[in-house]
């Protein structure tokens, strides 16, 4: 036997279960307990950039909406900087870049308002196209699923994006591209997430 390494093991993940709202969005579970719930204001009032709405539906392998999902988003600001001490760029006051959203219990539709992020410096000095980082948990999901949302009006940047370029099957890259539309004069991006099946969303092991 060799010597033992003294690293600890990561705590194993377990499903968030059907009642994740009680802990992370109690208002939606049907009761009012905290003075403020976290994750409802991603960009804050002072953030530069285009104000956008993002909407979608998560579907399972049968095509049915997943109505008990919780999604968290982590994003850079319009200048491509994260609200984090290791990002030297800095962000606007009130910009957190983090949000949390649950689905409508009846339809499974979810949506949040934010600002469109800018390109972010990636590995090797290669710019990454503007994107949102998403983390998805729900009953039946044993460990949270990571994916990215890119924007269809950034075709050139997307074509050069090092992460999209890693996806061997070009047809699957499309699963990460949100579609822009204008509704009542304001931009809305549609991003449907398919957990399983032929057009399954690409998920990452980050």
């Amino acid at each position: 036997m060799a010597q033992r390494l003294d690293y600890l093991k990561e705590t194993p993940s377990q499903t968030a279960g059907p009642y994740v709202h009680i802990g992370l969005a109690p208002g939606a579970a049907g009761f009012d307990i905290y003075a403020q719930e976290l994750g409802w204001d991603i960009a804050g009032p002072h953030a530069a950039g285009e104000r956008i709405r993002v909407e979608g539906l998560v579907t399972d392998g049968t095509g049915s909406p997943v109505k008990d999902v919780l999604i968290e988003v982590w994003q850079a600001n319009a200048a491509g900087h994260y609200a984090h001490p290791e990002d030297p760029g800095g962000t606007e006051e009130g910009f957190r870049g983090w949000g949390r959203v649950i689905t409508d219990f009846d339809t499974g539709e979810w949506g949040f308002d934010t600002v469109k992020p800018g390109p972010v410096m990636g590995r090797g000095g290669r710019l990454m196209a503007p994107h949102l980082n998403l983390w998805i948990v729900a009953r039946g999901i044993n460990i949270g699923l990571n994916t990215r949302l890119y924007f269809d009006d950034e075709a050139d940047a997307n074509a050069a994006d090092p992460v999209l370029g890693l996806i061997e099957w070009e047809s699957r890259r499309d699963t990460l591209i949100a579609r822009r539309e204008i509704r009542d004069g304001a931009p809305v991006y549609r991003f449907d997430i398919r957990l399983q099946g032929a057009d399954e969303t690409v998920f990452f092991d980050i």
Binding site: E10, I22, G23, R96, V120, T201
Partner: protein
């Protein structure tokens, strides 16, 4: 230009796989393609942070945070406490820990829970706190009851508390469940059994901690949480192929 230090990759054989047919709900919700492995960039290495003014000091006291003044939740009073560490065994200070749980009868305060055990008027079932300088956290609550669920006809969840934990990077984000030492339902639970290594189940089982009990008041369980650790050194960027 340097790439910030990366986090150790997740041991996907330690965690449950996506598809675990004994836990039936996973069957239609498990991705069928393999995950695409990503070398970390700023998008993965950064993550949200939380401050004291995001929460209230009493948010970690589930005995009282939803109770009428002067009353408290019904059930076996427990202290559920521990440290948030990383895989290098270093404390993770000032990170958000959120929990949710059923009441002592096994009933959730949720519009979708119709179990016949009664709601406790003085128990909400959620709490949150920030770890201190040493990564330590504590909750005061009641021990949750076991409850039935529709997997097989006679499936029962062991007593458990759901935990949501942030580290300092989005790649450390973790949701898990804490079980209680000695519960015979742990070994029978299809959700627990999604974990293949018995040591992984042990890591989710809080230990009775007599030294932390408050005599004549509350019994204590200790539940340490380990988040992904980080390389010690920054690496010079290499141009990537392609």
């Amino acid at each position: 230009m340097k790439t910030p230090a990366e986090y150790y990759q997740r041991d996907r054989q330690w965690h449950a796989p996506a598809l675990t047919p004994e836990y039936k709900t996973s069957v239609s919700r498990a991705p069928s393609f393999p995950l695409l492995s990503l070398e970390q960039s700023a998008s993965e290495i950064t993550g949200p942070s939380f401050r004291n003014d995001d929460i209230n000091p009493g948010d970690n006291d589930l005995l009282h945070n939803y109770a009428t003044a002067g009353e408290s939740a019904i059930g076996e009073r427990i202290i559920l406490h521990g440290r948030v560490l990383d895989e290098n065994a270093r404390p993770v200070p000032h990170v958000l820990v959120e929990i949710w749980q059923a009441n002592a009868g096994g009933r959730y305060r949720h519009r979708k829970d119709g179990y016949l055990a009664p709601i406790d008027a003085n128990f909400g079932g959620c709490g949150r706190t920030l770890t201190d300088d040493q990564g330590y956290y504590v909750f005061h609550t009641v021990k949750p009851g076991a409850y039935p669920w529709r997997n097989w006809v006679n499936s029962w969840r062991p007593a458990h508390v759901h935990f949501s934990v942030f580290g300092t990077s989005f790649s450390q984000r973790l949701i898990t469940q804490c079980y209680f030492e000695g519960d015979p339902l742990i070994a029978r639970c299809p959700i627990v059994q999604t974990l293949k290594d018995p040591a992984a189940v042990d890591q989710l089982t809080a230990a009775l901690d007599m030294n932390a009990t408050i005599p004549l008041d509350s019994i204590a369980y200790r539940f340490d949480i380990v988040l992904r650790g980080r390389r010690a050194t920054y690496f010079e960027n290499r141009p990537e192929g392609g």
